[in-house]
């Protein structure tokens, strides 16, 4: 049987293409309509918008010529959210009562209780990933995930402690360990996944980014202390000037550092993924994503300017109607009671955040995705050519928790 299938076409592993076929205009339309509906529905449309975005991204992602598919539905996310709220509510109440008891013992002693929510958030991230993975289908077979969200949360919390102790320097090893746990419990049909990226490899690629981020921050923290050295006291003014320059520099560097970091992280992550013999490789260059972040910042500034112009125009127009001199236009007494001005401001603000949401989703979701996918190749895909379907669908409770706790993860 299957004589033909078992004959290898080429002896060495053949690289196959991973590509993205989604049209940018189509996605823009999708998120613009979605953002409008989100406002119209007081945010409830978010479950359907998230689903539509994933459907678009998944079904336009082709691995070896076969497109993936997202089979999740908005209604599942809504129900997951409602169940999660029902569970979170008593937890918040218990949190409050425990907080009262601890605070009685010592004021502000309840602050560490937020750690509990960190754990809960990590649990939610794991469970949300499981939901998404079980809704991911390729060639008629779904991905799925086993493992325990609690075990994952425990690991994440321990690594979190180390992160704090090492000022984030241990991040590569944290990500490698957590990713190993996630991928060890991920499957495509009966093909088990694993993660072969190492913390050291990530560290080698990204340590200079840590320096770039940490050095100015440390300088900023240490500089004011110099004033306490008596000999340097007269230089206080110079030090303040240096501090503000360093702060400005950090602000300008953040998009660069973050964009570089994300590119390094994506490349390392993709290149470490294995499903059986199937191996991915990414050739994403370090600077591939920086431009996207700057474009978002540019758009943000432009939209902010338009919004301010709009507010000023509205105020001037209203003043013209009421015959108020321009000088008096922005006195509190004039603005306070003006209901039309308030209404105009609210409408303007809604348009402002609507546009901002569209811009962020187009650049930071779709464009990042498209660039990352385009940089990827897959090897030995034939190992996944005859995989038996397996795995159960997971519920959307984790997504609900992640929504309720405002955490996001991949």
């Amino acid at each position: 049987m299957n004589q033909m299938s078992s004959v290898p076409l080429h002896p060495p592993p053949v690289p196959e293409e991973v590509s993205f076929s989604g049209a940018r205009g189509e996605f823009r339309q999708l998120v613009a309509r979605g953002a409008g509906l989100e406002l119209l529905t007081f945010g409830f449309y978010r479950f359907w918008l998230a689903t539509d975005i994933r459907r678009h991204l998944w079904s336009n992602t082709l691995i070896g010529g076969n497109a993936a598919e997202y089979t999740g539905r908005g209604k599942e996310l809504l129900f997951g959210f409602l169940f999660a709220i029902a569970i979170i509510m008593p937890i918040y109440l218990a949190y409050f009562l425990v907080g009262v008891e601890v605070e009685r013992f010592k004021a502000f002693a309840s602050t560490p209780l937020f750690l509990f929510f960190y754990l809960f958030g990590q649990f939610a991230i794991y469970r949300a990933r499981r939901y998404r993975l079980t809704r991911t289908v390729w060639c008629g077979v779904r991905f799925w995930m086993s493992g325990s969200g609690l075990a994952y949360a425990g690991r994440a919390a321990l690594w979190g402690v180390l992160m704090a102790l090492t000022l984030g320097l241990i991040l590569p090893w944290r990500e490698a360990a957590l990713e190993r746990y996630k991928m060890r419990h991920s499957y495509y049909g009966d093909l088990p996944g694993r993660f072969e990226g190492t913390g050291w490899a990530f560290f080698k690629r990204g340590w200079w980014l840590w320096l770039l981020a940490a050095a100015p921050l440390l300088t900023l923290m240490l500089l004011p202390m110099v004033q306490f050295i008596p000999r340097l006291a007269p230089m206080a003014k110079t030090i303040t000037a240096i501090s503000s320059i360093v702060a400005l520099l950090i602000l300008l560097m953040i998009p660069f550092i973050y964009g570089l970091f994300k590119a390094v992280e994506w490349r390392w992550w993709l290149s470490g993924i294995r499903f059986g013999d199937v191996r991915f490789e990414s050739s994403l260059v370090n600077g591939a994503l920086v431009g996207l972040y700057w474009k978002v910042i540019g758009w943000f500034l432009l939209i902010t300017m338009l919004f301010s112009g709009y507010l000023f125009g509205c105020a001037a127009l209203l003043a013209g109607i009421n015959h108020t001199p321009v000088a008096k236009l922005f006195t509190p007494a004039n603005l306070q009671g003006s209901i039309p001005m308030l209404v105009a401001a609210v409408i303007g603000y809604l348009a402002f955040i609507l546009t901002l949401n569209v811009v962020m989703r187009v650049y930071l979701l779709r464009d990042v995705w498209a660039r990352v996918i385009a940089s990827t190749t897959v090897y030995r895909l034939e190992a996944a050519a005859n995989v038996a379907a397996e795995g159960e669908l997971a519920n959307a409770l984790g997504e609900g928790f992640a929504d309720g706790l405002d955490v996001a993860g991949f």
Partner: protein, 377 residues
């Protein structure tokens, strides 16, 4: 068995009629198939039929641009048929009448919008009517022990923020106790109330849950007579009597939670949530303040003293407030409105002064320890 062509057969030179790709949903195996449009759609590999899909059961699945991807209700859930050829796709689409019935269409979106509006209206209704009602009904049910615990917590934080300097000058303490006792009796409240003057320059006074009232020395410094302080203390006792702290706690918890439900992850919605919350909460606390003022006015009448004094003290502290922006967001009624209300209630004094001039002088000096008795216990 030759017909079971694997992926490598795509490149086979003579393209068969209606070439399509079929995945049976039980394995990831890619079958190159031909389609036969019979009574039902027959999916054939060579002369071997892999599956027969009834047209009415065929549904559209998500696929990339230029690819028609189909699923079938009666087949395994993940079985997929993929057609690239536009002519074949059109022919098949024409046969399947219910192709798009399970995709959310216009009507689905309208339903989402409708239900969301209903949910939003219900949440706003609950925030506006339900939560205040729940706060009023639940506050008396909160056990005093829990209230005292809340008070202890607030006290601990208060003392960290404002310093833990309770003023203890003995004559001042005596005058203060006398004043408090007079007001307390007129207000009809028991002796469980604890009061103290805290040495901080901020002109304010606090009532904490569980029956603690703190007067800040800063307010005492601005006061010109005992009636002014008496009015403020009566106002704070009013908060205790109405259990405003507990009601506020329940109210704030409820409204934050409900308003947070709306606008989940819309970037920039934080400002919207904050604004709408401030707006509702402010009107609620304004009402509580007004009720405490009413209580203060009644107590002062009962003591035969003028309620106007408190209004004058407040006005001295805050100045005119109407020019400040956004009074809708203020959690107190405007000081000038409070002053006017208390002035309207002004009556010539019918009772004895609450403190003698000597007692008033020592109360004002409660936070200055007498040099003759340094650190006296």
């Amino acid at each position: 068995m030759d017909g079971d062509s694997g992926p490598e057969n795509i490149a086979a030179p003579p393209a068969p009629v209606n070439p399509a790709i079929y995945f049976d949903g039980t394995s990831s195996r890619r079958h190159v198939v031909t389609l036969a449009f019979n009574d039902a759609l027959a999916i054939n590999a060579g002369d071997h039929t892999l599956a027969t899909w009834s047209y009415a059961d065929i549904r559209r699945a998500d696929g990339p641009t230029g690819l028609l991807r189909l699923a079938c209700l009666t087949a395994p859930a993940l079985a997929r048929l993929e057609i690239r050829d536009a002519a074949v796709a059109a022919e098949l689409t024409a046969c399947c009448s219910k192709l798009d019935t399970n995709l959310p269409g216009q009507r689905g979106v309208a339903a989402i919008v409708g239900w969301s509006l209903a949910a939003a209206i219900s949440i706003v209704g609950v925030v506006w009517f339900g939560v205040p009602l729940a706060a009023d009904r639940l506050a008396p049910l909160v056990p005093p022990a829990l209230e005292r615990r809340l008070g202890d917590v607030a006290e601990g934080q208060l003392k960290i923020i404002f310093g833990n300097n309770i003023c203890t000058a003995a004559p001042g303490r005596a005058a203060f106790n006398k004043l408090v006792d007079e007001i307390r009796e007129a207000a009809g409240m028991d002796t469980s109330i604890q009061t103290a003057v805290l040495s901080t320059a901020i002109p304010n006074a606090f009532a904490l849950p569980g029956g603690k009232v703190y007067l800040f020395n800063g307010l005492l410094a601005k006061a010109e007579n005992a009636d002014e302080i008496a009015g403020v203390l009566a106002h704070e006792l009013g908060h205790l009597k109405h259990r405003d702290n507990t009601r506020n706690l329940i109210y704030n918890g409820g409204t934050s939670f409900l308003i947070g439900l709306l606008f989940g992850d819309v970037t920039g919605s934080g400002a919207l949530i904050f604004a709408s919350r401030s707006l509702v909460t402010a009107s609620y606390t304004r009402e509580a303040e007004q009720n405490a003022d009413t209580f203060s006015i009644e107590v002062m009448h009962r003591l035969g003293r003028s309620p106007k004094a408190m209004g004058e003290l407040l006005f001295r502290v805050t100045g005119k407030e109407v020019d400040k922006p956004l009074s809708v967001l203020s959690n107190h009624p405007l000081t000038e409105d409070r002053l006017k209300r208390m002035s309207d209630e002004d009556r010539p004094p019918s009772g004895p002064p609450l403190l003698t001039p000597e007692e008033w002088t020592s109360l004002k000096a409660i936070c200055t320890p007498r040099p003759s008795a340094p650190q006296a216990k």
